[in-house]
Each structure stands twice: as C-alpha cells, then as structure tokens.
Symmetry: C2
Subunit: 247 residues, 2 copies
C-alpha cells in the first residue's frame, strides 16, 4: 500500500448500460426507468492497480460500484498503522453512506488489481433519492446491509481467535455452501489477508498452522479445505443470514 | 445478562414533547412541524433494568431513542458467547437501520439501568421519509454516523492492544477534552466493560494494570487519569472527528 498514486484522469466517458447497474444489490430491484436515470448520471472507469479512489479525510463526489477487480478499504491510524476494514469485490459498492451524508471519508479505497467501476454522481443520486421513494428505500436497505457486515466483523473480532477468524473467512470463500471439501485460491496476498483479519503476518502463519488440525492445507495462495464440517465446528461462523427479509 | 426478561407491557401512552426529540442528533435539525409529526407517532416508555427491548433474530416495530439510562447492544454467537457491540446512552438511538430496512435485528438490546426511551413507530417513520426529503436526509446522515462509529471500532480492534483500547475508552469518557487530568466513575460494571472492549475480564484487569504506568489509577469503579497527555500518546486515539461536516 506504499506505492499508492492518486487516481490519474479517472473520469470515464462511457455511460453504463442500465442493466449493468443490477450487478449491485443496491440497484438490483429498481425498475428500468429508474435504472435509466441512474445510468445517465454514471460513468464507467478503469482504475489501474494501486490507484487511490478516495482518501481518508477527503470527500469524493461519487459512489463507486465495483464491476471487476478488487478495492481495499483501509484506515490509517495517526501513528501510520493501517487497518484493512474490507476488500470490496464485484457487486460491492463503496463510500455510499459518507458521501450521501456529505461527510469526509473515514477510509481510503485503493485498487489492488486493475479494477473496473461504475462511478455514480453523488449529487445526482441525492436528487433522485428526494424524488423517488423506491430509491430512498433501496439506499436505506443497502446501508443497513453494509452496517450489518460491520456489526458481524465487530463481533468476529470480539469473540473469535485469529485462527477462528481465518477459518470463517475461508468458509466464506467457499462458493458451494453444502460441499464437504473445497479448494480455492486466496484472492489477495497474505499481507493483505492479515490486515483484513486484524493480525500480524506472523500470527496469520500461526493461524494457518493451527487450522491444519482442522483439515486446512495450504500451498502458497492455494488452499484446500479437507473437512468443511470440522472447520465449521472449530471456527463457529455466525448464522445470521440477511436472506430472511421482510419484503 | 442472564436475568433478561422480555419487555413487559412497554407500550407507553405519553406522547413526547416535540422538543424532546431533539435529544438525538437524528432529529436535532428538523423543523418544528416535522418534529410535531414525529412526536405524534411516538410514545415515551420506561424500561426497568434488564428489560429486553429487542432481540437478535426478531423484528421490532419501532426505533428507540434513549432519554436516560443505558442500553447494552450485544450479539450472541451460536456457542453462547456474547459480544457487546455498544452501550447506548442518552441521545443515542438504536435499531434504526435494520428496522427501516425491514430486517430482523442482528443485535439484542437490553436496559442495564432503568431506562427512559422514546419509541418512534417504524411504519409511520417510513411514511414520513417518503414524503419529507429533509427527514430522508437526516436518516441517511444518522445511519452514516452510526456506520462510522462501527468503522472506528473495527479499526480499534484491528490496530490496538486491549490496554490501548481501554485507554481510548477512558479518554472518550473525559468530558473536558482539554483537561490535563480527569476523575470519573465507570458508567457500568467491569464485566460489561470487558465485553464492550472485546476481551476477557482477566485481560481487562491486566490492561488496567498496564495503564498504571500511564497515570491511570483505579479504585473499584472510580478512575483517575493523572496524565491525560501521556495516556493519549500511549493509546493513540483516532483523530477522525465527525465535526467537519459539509452542511
């Protein structure tokens, strides 16, 4: 994260196809007409690796939706230590609540791969929210889901050991929730994984070693889960899905 | 937290004075007419100590604003471990984002003292949001501030030792930000403080012991900070105020 450079000439010119906006749960259920109006205040941009998309303490004038690639969202403490709060991947959005509330960012976002994003103009979005109650409802819901992700993370940090947190994270990466075993590639390097889990790199190594007893085998970025049930029992992932909605 | 009882007959009959709604930043800047309309869908209730005001996994039909007393907001892991996410005090609100989004609660709220609250009907509030853009803006802003508090907590948990987190918490409790020394009473017991900080009680004792070198003296619930500057330097509290707003 030391080689960050401020977003160079990121203003894209391509207006996204309205259907593309459905990549994010934020816009997924909106009707076609409203999607058209959001598309008209949006552009697609491509951010090279290490581009800073918004910096802690500053304001940005758009909400980003990730189409491909990955963005690390992190906070730097006064002494220079860095906490990675989240890695945003395709379908995720960022800077939503601070930007709509007119607040400076608490977190810096930087592209860890070449990343394609939709940039939705914040002022235009606020205008639409004021005139379109369904959009206001969608935004409230998206903010609630973001909030819940953070609540989960706070509980994770308070209740679980590093090895358990790593176990939960690996279980999240398994796409087939009913599989008995899984094989995967870590989506980013171990330095970033340690920062995301809130531990030092040496503790991450110890956590991987501790998970060997629960069927976790690693070869560099390659991870094999030989016994998902055993790993689940050890890591105690929470069972608070957002699936059971009221709508 | 073992002696919780479900909120017994909490439905108050007193409609709050509209000005009372200004206790919370959520409603502080709304005009008098809008406050009247919110007061009309609100009641004041008194919750005895240990009353459960909403339970994880269930839905509530109102947003609570705390007038006096304290409410612990916690999450119970599948194995029964409990993480206290926050202690809500006078002026704080709770269940805002989940309730407005129609989602079941992720967290249980229970009164740790006798607590007076305003209960604002969620359906009525949603109706008002749809017709009153200034209320929608106030809600978005309140949710953003709640989100930022959690972001701070995630960073706190990832970057700081237990002793530093305790130091930051004690610094937060000092009312005079420019004082050189401070004397205070912990607002709740050490068991709850440990759960809020995300540590075991024995680690909290060790953290208090570690802070002795930084001028922190304790006698039961009484805490004296003899050298705030030294404690601040050790604990590295973040300097990300929400004061510098765009409005």
């Amino acid at each position: 994260m030391s080689s960050q450079s401020i977003a160079p000439a990121l203003h894209g010119s391509d207006q996204p196809d309205p259907a593309l906006l459905r990549v994010t749960p934020l816009f997924r259920d909106l009707d076609d007409d409203l999607l058209w109006r959001i598309a008209r205040i949006s552009t697609i941009i491509t951010a090279p690796e290490n581009t800073v998309l918004g910096r802690q303490g500053e304001r940005v004038d758009c909400v980003y939706v990730v189409l491909s690639g990955q963005v690390a969202i992190s906070n730097e403490a006064p002494n220079g230590d860095q906490a990675v709060v989240e890695i945003v991947r395709a379908g995720g959005q960022m800077f939503l609540s601070s930007t709509l509330a007119g607040l400076p960012l608490l977190l810096t976002g930087h592209a860890i791969d070449t990343t394609r994003l939709i940039c939705v103009d914040a002022g235009g979005l606020l205008d639409l929210i004021r005139s379109e109650p369904t959009l206001a409802t969608a935004i409230l819901r998206a903010e609630a889901l973001d909030f819940r992700q953070l609540v989960r993370q706070v509980c994770d940090l308070k209740l679980r050991t590093t090895a358990q947190r790593l176990g939960c994270y690996l279980l999240e990466l398994t796409t087939d929730q009913k599989a008995l075993t899984a094989s995967m590639r870590l989506p980013f390097d171990k330095r970033l994984l340690a920062a995301r889990l809130g531990c030092r790199q040496e503790n991450l190594s110890r956590a991987f070693a501790a998970l060997r007893d629960y069927g976790v085998e690693t070869h560099g970025a390659r991870v094999i889960l030989h016994d998902i049930a055993k790993l689940r029992e050890y890591s105690v992932p929470d069972d608070l899905p957002d699936g059971e909605l009221a709508f």
